[in-house]
Amino acid sequence: MKRFHLPILIVLLSTIGLGVFAYKVLALNMPLAPGAAAETWLVEARVRYQPSGGATNVQLRIPERLPNFALLDEGFVSRGYGLNTLGAGDDRIAQWTTRQPRGEQVLYYRATLYRMGDDGSEAEYPGPVSVPEWTEPHRSAAEALIEDVRARSSDIQTFASVLVNDLAEAPRASNAAVFVADNGDPRARAETLIDLLATARIPARIVTTLPLRDGRRDISPEVWLEVHNTRRWVPIHPLSGKIEYPQDVVVWAHGTDPVLEVSNGREAEIRFAVSRSVQDALATAERFGETVNARILDFSTLALPLGTQNTYRVLLMVPLGAMIIVFLRNVIGIQTFGTFMPVLIALSFRETQLLAGIILFTLIVALGLGVRFYLEHLRLLLVPRLAAVVSVVIMLMLGISILSHHLGFERALALSLFPMVILAMTIERMSVVWEEHGPSDAITQGIGSLVVAAAAYGLMANRQLEHLLFVFPELLLVLLAMTLLLGRYTGYRLTELFRFGRIQDAMRRDS
């Protein structure tokens, strides 16, 4: 059991981390890239009518649950009206009421829609429908047509589409031609189709859809037919026989009832306007998470105050930097001063940028070392000497800032975030190594520290990684698992392959 303890832990941590990550990406559509934009549609229904006296009641059908789309936000603009929303089958009804409207009345309903993959969700089978009462000659024509179509189809869905196609391309004097007296009016055609499908006892219904065309202010609703294939409602276009909605069609209302009903009003009309907008994908995902009530977003870093968020944007990168240190030290074998000093240096590089950071770091450490060697002559005790070095380091930083400000290098002003105590300790450690092991060791380790810091900075300053770790902090579990895995690495370090490579001559002297 003990042997498997660590592997199990590693697998468990990565599974949890990647699982939550996958859920957030796939189900909540959280963006993987920073600054990603999500497409949203703003649909506006504009109702206009002339009151004809007395209390009016405006009833507008509005969507409840849209296949393929999520309703992120909605709003009603209706001054002086009482507003009620009622459930009505698969839709809702917005009911505006007022006692005495004067002059032309305009009401608005706005919905922000967000496209989210394909929805093939199942719906309960309403059961076979009753056969409508046909009158001759329709009766025999209907029966013959149904018989014929049944022979040429395999299931409910193909039956429906064959039927639609037959009606669309009906030659004169065929059984189908009897039913196409509607001159291609989709609504009438859809109603005929519903009756014909009912003859075959197949449930079907009319839906009102809106094609989403950016910038159009006069979108006319289209009629589609939905046929239940015992598992779900399959959309079929009543004229073309096309199955499934195209990408840019949204279902607005179900059933044959009119979308708009106005009592005590004249010249009632409804107009749909659509505009596309691009929003921050992260904010969209958040709002979407609210609509589906995802509890996981309550514990998101995005819920924190902005200042705290910015702190965590930096802090969440530290484990990554630490893992890089583990990798560079234990797998590559680079020597550094202090274990995690390079991470802190890398953090300060975020402010100064890499090149300026390296130059400043080298400058301060070199000047500090000089001062430290001078202090050696004064024979101070350890802690006072460290304190003196800290003071000198800060004075050096101040001097560099003032000088560079005068010279116009504003970048060097970001120096204040350099961890000066860490710098002082580095200078102290470096001077001890310098004295005890010679300058070459000290310089090698100093360069090693800088290389590691630069590598850590390269990753920690990466906006993509920062975004990933901030939006998906569960990835830290994966990082933890990788660090644990690295902790068990007992193979050779890369530098050892060179170190022992050089002694291969010595190794062979016995053979």
């Binding site: 802690v383 005890e436 170190r499 022992f500 002297r509 016995d510």
Partner: protein, 340 residues
Amino acid sequence: MPGWLPRFVRPRVLKEQGIVGMNARNARYIAAWNARRFYPRVDNKLQTKQLALDAGLSVPELYGVVRTHRQIREIRRELRQHEQGFVIKPAHGAAGDGILVIDGWRGDRPRRAGSRTLELSELDDHISNILSGMYSLGGHPDVAMIEQRVRFSSVFDAVAHQGVPDIRTVVYRGYPVMAMIRLPTHESDGKANLHQGAVGTGIDLASGRTTGGVHHNQPCRNHPDSEHSLVGLQIPGWEALMELAAGCFELSQLGYLGVDVVIDAERGPLILELNARPGLAIQIANGEGLDHRIRTVDAHLEAGTTEAATERARWSGTTFARPAASGDPAAATRTQFGLS
């Protein structure tokens, strides 16, 4: 190919040679066999010395301990008595840092080994630096030890430039597995650090003869300063040294232990210090990996034998004998599998 050029070797070759890497050492030897609670026994040299004395193992004589800055003045008077010199070292020093060797007096001023005469105040400063923790791990306040200066056996006169030739033995679970002698050179400034140009020389565990050295990662048969041969140099009191090294297991309880020994002209081998994290340069000096020898010890201990230090030292001597040095054909077949 010039020695300074980086040369790459495939991991498989190293594995066949039994070379142990840093990670493997940390995980398989140190983490597995060295319990944290025993570290103070070796990290605190004062405690090591006391334990060694209790166990009857030879160490350089302790002249005095300085614990506070006030004691510095008091000890200064006593120091003058030690005409033969003395050594000041931090009790918690690492890697030989902070060791000051005084080999005598010129008038009232101490003379640093192989260097100039110091002011007495410089001694005070050095002790004071030690007390404030300059050489200890983590900068903790430390204690300065003043002990007998070892007068090295004359065997090393021709091959040790100024400094301290010390013998490092790696003891695995009580069995000495590999040994080397580090000889300071002019280039290394009297320091026994291979990295700084000291010569490392492997030692045949059976006979105590050197097997030829490595200088700057290149095999060398002669000392770079004196041109004296480095092969076949007999270390005096080798058997005693092996027993001393093996005996350090009991006093430290560390399964992977480095024992640093110096040879005093009169007293023979003395334990200088113990190391809980001995490095891997010993493999370079010996031109051989540690891994095969360590596996041999593991296999030997599989049987559940418990042996006293003397027997362990003898077992190691016969098992890890070098074919070239001892001329024992049986031993040759035993060790050669790790070499070619």
